[in-house]
């Protein structure tokens, strides 16, 4: 059985290989050509607004650029811009560490919060539409200046809850490096929650796609709601979680409330010696690398995680094997002891039948 399966798989692979070498038909070729025609705007866009600026920006990053009345004056700098930013800039590293800690802390909070809200909205409740409208509202009105105004007004935190007691406890328990971002997070709780509108909707549509009969089957087998959540809901939402995490990281990184972005802009238009377009480009490159690494880290963390179902299956298989081994062991022992008893009886040492075979 196993072998035939393998054979067919190998066959399929060979077939695919052969198909690759086959010439594609006329129709397919024409299809492909039309596909390129549809993609033309995008190709132009990538060349003009992605490849060209990227290459240029890299070139700028290696230069010191001064704006003179005659035009832009390039001086080749090598990697001096980068070393300057990393070693001498007073703000960049500080802001970067702040950004990293706050992102790593807030992304799980946003995603978990969105999941909880989505699960509550997925229950049988009245006014579902109303709540959806409320939770999606921030997506519409969030923009840099508006958040700035609200923060300046102090509307970003909940004045009804006294935050000072909380922050004091946090700073007394945790080292200051962790305590500060965490208490910042609590102080800006509303703003953090405001970022989760799209995520809630994504989770909600994911939840609605889970097959209801799975829950019914689990219930028949005696699964509690808690178990259903860990073993059905969460594994089914795995791709949604990844999507949401990536979305959240990208959104918080490209948001113009982010201090690093302000830093890049201010050094772009700064007339100070050593600053300017080249310096800002180098900073933007460093920032980009950090953001991509962060997205990659989160993606890796979520993708390699085996889901609960697979783990369960593996454990069950192991248990079955162990059981079989044990049974064999017991059988062997039984046979041995039975033989021994037979032998002893034949020698006439035992006369009673207390340890005879029937007892097993």
């Amino acid at each position: 059985m196993e072998e035939t399966k393998k054979m067919t798989r190998a066959d399929k692979k060979a077939l695919k290989e052969r198909m690759k070498h086959l010439k594609s038909g006329k129709l397919e070729k024409r299809d492909a050509r039309v596909g390129y025609i549809f993609m033309i705007p995008w190709f132009i866009g990538v060349a003009a607004f992605l490849a060209y600026p990227l290459i240029n920006s890299f070139w700028y990053a290696l230069n010191q650029i001064q704006i003179t009345p005659m035009g832009r004056d390039f001086t080749f700098y090598g990697i001096k811009n980068f070393t300057d930013i990393l070693l001498q800039d007073p703000d960049f590293i500080v802001e970067l560490v702040d950004y990293l800690t706050s992102t790593i802390l807030s992304v799980p909070i946003i995603v978990v919060f969105a999941l909880i809200i989505a699960m509550m909205l997925n229950m049988k409740i009245k006014g579902k539409g109303f709540f959806r409208v409320v939770f999606f509202l921030p997506v519409i009105i969030v923009s840099g200046p508006i958040l700035g105004q609200l923060n300046a007004e102090g509307a970003g935190s909940i004045s009804a809850i006294d935050m000072t007691a909380l922050t004091n406890t946090i700073s007394s328990v945790l080292p200051s490096m962790l305590a500060e971002p965490i208490s910042d997070l609590f102080n800006n709780m509303i703003m953090t929650l405001w970022y989760s509108g799209v995520q809630i909707l994504i989770f909600l549509s994911g939840l609605q796609k889970i097959d209801k009969s799975m829950y019914e089957a689990a219930k028949i087998d005696g699964g509690s709601g808690w178990e259903c959540f860990w073993k059905i809901t969460l594994p089914n939402l795995k791709s949604m979680i990844l999507l949401n995490v990536v979305y959240t990281v990208v959104f918080t990184s490209n948001n113009d409330q982010n201090p690093i972005i302000g830093l890049i802009e201010s050094s772009m238009f700064s007339g100070a010696p050593g600053r300017g377009y080249g310096y800002a480009s180098a900073m933007a490159w460093l920032y980009t690398v950090v953001v991509i690494l962060l997205v990659g880290l989160f993606a890796l963390l979520l993708m390699t995680r085996k889901d609960a179902y697979e783990k369960q299956v593996k454990r069950a298989k192991k248990a079955i094997k162990k059981d079989a081994r044990n049974r064999k062991k017991i059988e062997r022992r039984n046979r041995r002891s039975a033989k021994r008893i037979e032998r002893q009886r034949a020698q006439g040492k035992i006369t009673s039948r207390t340890t005879s075979r029937e007892d097993y």
């Binding site: 299809d31 050509r33 993609m39 600026p53 509202l137 709601g225 972005i261």
Partner: protein
């Protein structure tokens, strides 16, 4: 927990209580903004008044509106958000259709680049693009926004391409084949089959593109408004960003002509903020169903 069974009374009660509490936290800044924007100076100073102002005071709105140049800014905001949105709709739908319908060499590379552009912070391409625009003389004109959106590289264009891609993939291929048998060419089947059946995707992309362009302060400031404010283009959001300086200018000119203008206070600030989001709020309450259901319908969540 995720199921749709009938829950016990206590659990139901708990869920409602939580939802209402969190919902309140969500709209709290908005409520705060509305109530503060109507307060007069006495209400602001009176610590016993927290939520309800003693009287509805519209003078804050009047002053904020005239300092922001409300009607001109509103019109320009609509143009700045609307025109690139239309370009986005056209270009992203074409590209999304190309990705969804046709198989060609290098398609997966294209998808990879689209996802990469989504992750890439716009700051890394910003400086050379700025230089490019200033060389071409496009800086401080609307072209700086139109041009990238025509070639599917506008703000958040990767998301829009992916929405169209997802949506056009769901249209059964049989429809296209039937059209082909009836003698329709590739482009005819695009605008006679894909576009009419892709209406939800168009609505979603249109709404989101409009909202995102409307709320974009950073790039608008850089490319269209001008860093030194040297262009006639402005939007409500940018007016809000420079609210304090705008207001003091207004105060000087209006004060010189003899009108009594209050000094800038929280209420006027909040009135200005309200003014810049009221158009979006109106749009949202009219079209909320489309907004909220859009993610469901377009299948952005990916299968």
């Amino acid at each position: 927990m995720g199921t749709k069974d009938k829950e016990g009374f206590l659990k139901q009660f708990l869920v409602y209580a939580l939802l209402i509490c969190i919902g309140f936290i969500y709209v709290y800044p908005l409520l705060h903004m509305i109530s503060t924007s109507f307060m007069n100076l006495d209400d602001l100073l009176d610590s016993s008044i927290k939520w309800l102002p003693s009287s509805l005071n519209f003078s804050n709105y009047k002053q904020a509106a005239s300092s922001m140049n409300f009607w001109t800014s509103l019109l320009q905001s609509i143009i700045i958000a609307g025109v690139p949105t239309i370009c986005n709709l056209v270009s992203c739908s074409i590209v999304g259709y190309g990705l969804a319908r046709f198989n060609f060499r290098g398609k997966s590379i294209c998808m990879g680049i689209i996802i990469l552009t989504f992750v890439l912070p716009s700051q890394v391409t910003m400086i050379p693009t700025y230089v490019l625009y200033s060389n071409m003389g496009l800086l401080n004109t609307l072209w700086a926004f139109i041009l990238p959106s025509i070639v599917a590289q506008g703000i958040n264009a990767p998301i829009f391409i992916l929405i169209f891609w997802q949506f056009f993939r769901q249209i059964p291929k049989v429809l296209n084949e039937a059209a082909k048998i009836d003698g329709a060419g590739y482009f005819e089947s695009f605008y006679k089959i894909a576009i009419p059946s892709g209406k939800p995707a168009f609505i979603t992309v249109g709404l989101f593109s409009f909202v995102w362009y409307w709320n974009e302060a950073y790039l608008t400031n850089l490319y269209v408004h001008g860093v030194y404010g040297d262009s006639s283009w402005t939007t409500l959001v940018i007016q809000l960003q420079n609210f304090a300086s705008n207001y003091s200018n207004y105060q000087q000119t209006a004060g010189a002509s003899g009108g009594g203008v209050a000094t800038l206070n929280e209420s006027i600030n909040m009135a200005g903020t309200m003014l810049s989001i009221i158009p979006l709020l109106l749009l949202y309450f009219v079209l909320q169903k489309q907004f909220v259901e859009s993610i469901d319908r377009t299948g952005i969540t990916g299968e």
